[in-house]
């Protein structure tokens, strides 16, 4: 198959086993076009986070390959790949490790070699993009959980990535913080992969979804179609929350 445009993310036959021998991925194939916003759905333990860590080469494929805008994720391109793929981890406290928010956001671009005014501009722009420009001098632990999550997004945006990967972005967020984050993500118009088991959030944010279960992609399609497929959902430990109708938004519009 020859794609007209180079996909932003291309994963072929990706398999991976942990050092202790447990195998987590059993041949994952997926392709994300530039500018797409895609949800990666699946139950806990399906291998979602493991897959994400392959996209920027933190984990190395046991078999198969990963390409980011055509560049293979391999040792010689690691620096480039890590700039292009920004991962927002599940616990913002893991990602905000510097004494102040500003330093945290500067950490990535400084590793890319930026200094002085160029660095300061990057930091300001990234914090602006998530509406957190006024907290640059604060310590991360003085922010609310929702604010920390948005700053975590900024730390990644500051590297001007081509692809944004978010791991369970809604965990522990209250409804308003959840919606505010959705607003931020929509405003970015980056290629985005949202790893989540929050199915309503996937529907709200991502036109397309992939379902990962037991280390394989088992479904790929329009989010509302997948969520409306009761058999598929039940087979992969995905259930819509009580009172939730995936087709209601379509009917309403």
């Amino acid at each position: 198959m020859v794609a007209a445009v180079t996909p932003a993310v291309e994963v072929r036959g990706l398999a991976y086993a942990y050092p202790d021998g447990r195998q987590a991925l059993f041949g994952v194939d997926l392709c994300i076009e530039p500018g797409e916003r895609v949800a990666l759905l699946g139950p806990n333990g399906a291998g979602k986070t493991t897959l994400a860590l392959h996209l920027n080469g933190v984990l190395t494929a046991g078999a198969g390959e990963v390409r980011i805008s055509g560049v293979p994720v391999a040792k010689e391109h690691l620096k480039e790949v890590r700039r292009r793929v920004g991962i927002v981890f599940q616990d913002p406290d893991d990602q905000l490790f510097m004494p102040t928010v500003g330093q945290d956001v500067a950490f990535g671009p400084a590793n890319l070699g930026l200094r002085g005014d160029a660095l300061a501009t990057r930091v300001r722009q990234a914090l602006d993009a998530v509406g957190m420009a006024d907290v640059a001098d604060r310590a991360p632990h003085h922010l609310s959980f929702g604010q920390r999550r948005r700053v975590a997004v900024a730390t990644v945006l500051a590297m001007e990535p081509d692809v944004l990967v978010l791991d369970e972005p809604t965990s522990n967020l209250d409804p308003v913080a959840r919606r505010e984050l959705a607003d931020v993500l929509r405003s970015l118009s980056l290629t985005t992969l949202v790893i989540t088991h929050d199915l309503p959030y996937a529907l709200e944010l991502c036109p397309r979804s992939l379902v990962l279960d037991e280390g394989r992609i088992v479904a790929d399609g329009a989010t509302e179609d997948l969520l409306a497929d009761d058999e598929l959902m039940a087979a992969h430990r995905l259930e819509l929350p009580y009172g939730f109708d995936p087709l209601a938004p379509r009917r309403a519009s």
Binding site: G13, A17, D20, G27, A63
Partner: protein, 233 residues
Amino acid sequence: MHIPDGFIDAPTSLAAGAVAVTGLAVCVHKTADSLEERDIPLAGLTAAFVFAVQMLNFPVASGTSGHLLGGVLAAVLVGPYLGTLCVSVVLLVQALLFADGGLSALGLNVVNMALVTSFGGYALFLLVRRLLPRTRASVVVASGVAAGLGVVLASLAFTVEYALGGAGGASVSTVASAMVGVHVLIGIGEGTITALVVSAVLATRPDLVHGAAHLLPHRRLVVGPRVAPEGVA
């Protein structure tokens, strides 16, 4: 146990400072030599853990409580070099950020609570461990004994410092018997709690206990092609 300013005279404090700097330089060199970059965040978190554990109160006897000093615990968990660095950083931060322990006495405190406790304690740990069978229980017992004696070692180091440059007032023998006497009691608590903490970590993540690394089974490396999973073309 944190020595304040004015307890020990300036020359002795400066000499202890020099010993501390030398000891820490060795630790920095050793950890830079043998460990990866990963260990810096790990050491920072371990130091935060030591600090938190020093704030945690353990009951000693009805109504009274003590807290862990954690020098030997850190050495058994992450190794003596990294452990010493972690405890020293805790002391540095306590002195600078919380005015806990004198700034002029920082060298003394690092010598007593990091260098003497961690290295002396770790040496005792290795000794006791060698005398016992190769089991987890032996690691637990050895860490407890070493932690208890480590505290006594620290009080002996203090006595030596007092003899060299103490503020005077009391005879060295009075101070020695009082210090060591009190620290034998503290040592019993320190040893008990350290053994219990090590045993709890061993029960869940034995791979995280540096002092039990010799008990981990050697992982067999598979040579040859990775077992091809189904579905991989």
